[in-house]
Symmetry: C2
Subunit: 418 residues, 2 copies
C-alpha cells in the first residue's frame, strides 16, 4: 500500500469544498480536536448571538421577548431547521429538554401505543443512560414490562410479537458502528413493534433519514456534531402518523392546546407541540440556533464524503505508521455514502494502554477520548478538521508510542466525559 504523505493531505485540503467552514469555529491553536463527537467547539456565530439575545432581547424587551423575539416558538422553529439534517419533515421535530428526558417521553408514548406488549428491546452496547431510562420506566410502572438486552448483531432476530418498542442508538458510542435504520425499522414493523432511535452520534455527523426509514420516534442531542455547547438543548422526533396519539406523562402547560387559557384541565395540543412541557431555556436555544447558522450552509452529503475520507486516512495511516504498536481497529472498515451506512464519523482503536495513550496525546494537543475498558475514541468532524490534522494526529500517535510517553505515572487515574 502506498503511504499517504502530508503532501497528499495538503492537496486534499486545497480541493476541500468544506475547507472554508473551519474558519467559522474557534479552535485553540496547537490543538487537533478529535473529540467533537463528545463536545463540539464554539461556532463563531455563538458568542455574538448569545450576547445580543441577553443584552438586546432580554435586556431591552424583557417579558415582551417571549413573543416579540420568538422565544416561545423556538422549540418549534429550531426543530424545523434541524429536520433537514435528520430526514424529518416540518412539524415533526422539537428542540426541548434533554436527550434522556425526551427518551422517557418517547418510551412512555410507545408503550401506551402497544399496551398489550411488555418487552422493550435494545442492545447491550447501547449508551447506558438509554438503558437506565428504560429501567426507570419499567421499575416505576410496575406493569410487568421488561428490558430485553441482546448483542447488537442479534437485534433483528430478537424481534417478536412481545416487543412493544425497539430502542437503539443508531451509532454505537464506543465503536462507531451504525445500524441499518431502514432495514431494522422494517423488521420491527413486521412484528408490530415501534422504533425509537437515539441520534446522539448521528445528528450532524452524517445524513440521517428518519422518514425514509419510516422511523416512529427519535431523540438526540445538540452538543456533539451540532456544536450547541455543553449540555445544550436536546431534540425529539415523532412521525406525523403518531403525533396525535403519542401520549406521555410530562404534560406541562406549553403542550396544552391553549396554554394561556390557564384551564385547570390538561388538553394536549395537536401535533408535535404536545411534546413540549415547560417554558424553554432561551439562552441555550439561541446558542443552538447560532450553531445551526453555520451548518445550514453545508450539504450533508458533502459532510459525509469528507467524513469518510478523514476516517479512511486515519485508519490507513495507523496501519502504515503505527503497525508495530498493536492497535486493533474496532470501527467498521466500510462506511457507505448512501444508505445503508455502516460507520459513523469516528474511529476507535483498542490498546491495552489505551487510557494512558489518550492522555499522552492530549498532552501533545491531540484531543481524543477513552472509553472503558480499552477503547481510544477519535471523532472526525468534517466541518472544522483538515486532512493534514489527521496526518499530524497519527504522527503524534507514533511518537507517543515510540517514546513510550504513555508510560507516565500521571496517567493512572481515569476520568472522562461522554
Amino acid at each position: 500500500m502506498k503511504k499517504i504523505s502530508r503532501g497528499d493531505c495538503e492537496r486534499l485540503d486545497d480541493r476541500d469544498p468544506l475547507a472554508g467552514i473551519r474558519e467559522r469555529y474557534y479552535l485553540p491553536e496547537e490543538v487537533i480536536y478529535l473529540d467533537g463527537n463528545s463536545l463540539g467547539p464554539v461556532p463563531k456565530t455563538v458568542p455574538g448571538r448569545v450576547a445580543s439575545m441577553i443584552e438586546k432581547e432580554w435586556g431591552e424587551n424583557l417579558i415582551k421577548g417571549w413573543l416579540a423575539d420568538g422565544w416561545m416558538d423556538k422549540p418549534l422553529t429550531l426543530g424545523d431547521r434541524l429536520a433537514r439534517l435528520i430526514g424529518a419533515g416540518s412539524g415533526e421535530v422539537v428542540v426541548v429538554d434533554t436527550t434522556s428526558i425526551n427518551l422517557f417521553k418517547m418510551l412512555a408514548a410507545a408503550l401506551r401505543l402497544r399496551p398489550e406488549r411488555k418487552v422493550i428491546l435494545s442492545n447491550r452496547e447501547n449508551f447506558p443512560t438509554d438503558l437506565y431510562m428504560v429501567q426507570g420506566i419499567v421499575n416505576w410502572l410496575g406493569q410487568g414490562h421488561q428490558l430485553r438486552l441482546v448483542d447488537e448483531d442479534k437485534v433483528v432476530s430478537a424481534l417478536d410479537g412481545d416487543v412493544a418498542v425497539l430502542m437503539l442508538t443508531q451509532t454505537n458510542f464506543k465503536t462507531g458502528r451504525v445500524f441499518d435504520m431502514a432495514k431494522i425499522t422494517k423488521a420491527a414493523h413486521e412484528v408490530g413493534a415501534l422504533t425509537i432511535w437515539d441520534l446522539a452520534h448521528s445528528a450532524g455527523a452524517f445524513p440521517v433519514e428518519l422518514n425514509a426509514a419510516a422511523a416512529d420516534f427519535a431523540v438526540g442531542c445538540s452538543y456533539k456534531y451540532l456544536n450547541a455547547g455543553p449540555g445544550g438543548p436536546a431534540f425529539l422526533f415523532v412521525a406525523k402518523r403518531h403525533q396525535n396519539s403519542a401520549e406521555q406523562p410530562l404534560t406541562g402547560w406549553l403542550g396544552h392546546d391553549d396554554p394561556f387559557a390557564f384551564d385547570n384541565e390538561y388538553r394536549p395540543a395537536d401535533g408535535i407541540r404536545r411534546q413540549i412541557c415547560s417554558s424553554p431555556g432561551v439562552i441555550g436555544l439561541v446558542a443552538f440556533e447560532a450553531a445551526l447558522d453555520v451548518i445550514d450552509e453545508v450539504d450533508m452529503t458533502q459532510i459525509r464524503i469528507k467524513s469518510n475520507i478523514l476516517c479512511d486516512i486515519f485508519i490507513d495511516l495507523v496501519q502504515t505508521e503505527c503497525h508495530e504498536f498493536g492497535f486493533r481497529l474496532v470501527t467498521p472498515r466500510e462506511a457507505g455514502v448512501v444508505e445503508p451506512l455502516l460507520r459513523g464519523s469516528q474511529v476507535s482503536l483498542v490498546h491495552e494502554h489505551g487510557y494512558a495513550i489518550v492522555q499522552a496525546l492530549i498532552r501533545r494537543g491531540v484531543i481524543g477520548d477513552f472509553r472503558d475498558p480499552d477503547i481510544m475514541r477519535f471523532g472526525f468532524a468534517p466541518l472544522y478538521l483538515r486532512h493534514v490534522d489527521i496526518y499530524d494526529a497519527v504522527i503524534h500517535l507514533r511518537a507517543v508510542m515510540e517514546c513510550r510517553e504513555w508510560d507516565d505515572p500521571a496517567f493512572q487515574e481515569r476520568a472522562s466525559v461522554t
Copy 2:
C-alpha cells in the same frame, strides 16, 4: 389617611440599604418594570460571565471544561448557593431541568413513598401546569390515583388518610396570597401525607424556610425573582430524611452512583445527586450563577422589609390616587415580615377593563401583566425597584384612567406570558 408624596418616596430611597443594588441590573430607560415576577431583568454580571464561559471555558478548554471548569458539578454547587435563600441545607438542592419536570420527579417520589394512598391534594387556584403534571402522572400510571382539588381555604380541612401528597404553590400566581408553609406542612404530616411546595413566586422574593417548616419536597424556577433569564434552569429540594428513599423514573446517567463506570444497571447515587438525570445545560447554569452573585450580597430579611414597603405604598397610593376608578384589591393587605407570611412580593388589582389598562400602562413604560379573567398583576422586586418607581407607576395608572387610555381598539387581542 395622609397622602404619600413623591418626596416621601425619594426620602425612602435615600435611606434604602438596598438602593445600590439597582445599579447591578440593566433596566431600559423610561421603563418601570413591575413584571419581575414573570421574568427578572438582566443582572450586569451575566453577559460577561456567559461570554467568558463560551469563549474561555468552552472555547479554550473544550471537553476538558466538564471537570476543569466545574461544569459537571454546577447543579450541586448552584444548589448549595441557592439553599440559603430557601431555608434548605447543603446537599438538599440541585439546579436542574425545568420546574414541571422537577415537579414530576417529586410527585413520583412522593407517591412511591405512600404506595397505599391514592390522593394528590391541591387547590384549584394553583398554577395550571402543576395540575397538568399531576394529571399526566395519574393518567399514565393508571393505578387509581386521583387529583383532589379544593379551594385554597379548604386545603387543611381536605387532608385525610387517603392523601399521599399535598402539592401547593406557596405563593398564588394571581393574587400573591402566601400559604402558611409551616402550619400546613404540619397538618399534612399529622395525617401522614407528604408535601411538595412549588416556590415559583417565592424563591428570591422573600425568605423561604423549607427546613423550618419541615417541608418534604420543593421545586422552583430561576427566571422570576432570581433573574437567571427566560426559561432558566429550575431547581428541586429533597429533605435529607427522604433522599435515599426518593425514587423516581427519570433515572439518567448523572444520577447513577458511578456515571463513568458505564454499567448497564442503574444504581442510584446516594443523596440529592440521584435527582440529576442528564448532562446539565451549562450556558444557562452559568447565567444563573452570575445572577446569584448579585443576590448573594443581600440579606433576605432586608429584601422582605423593602418588598413590604413597596407593596404597601402601591396599595395605599391606588387607594388615595385612584379611588374613583373601581379597582378591587385581591392581594392580602397584611404581609408579615417573619413567618407566617401572608403576601408575596406582588399586588393584584381586579378591574373589568384590566387587560386594556395593563396595555395602556405598558405603552407608558409601566410594565405589569394581566391574568384572566380580570386581574392586573404588579410584581415588586426589591433588588432593583425604587420607592419613587411605585409612586410614578400609580400616577401613570391614574392618568390612564382619567384619559380613558385603555379604551383603545389596539388593546383588544389578548396574549400574555407567565
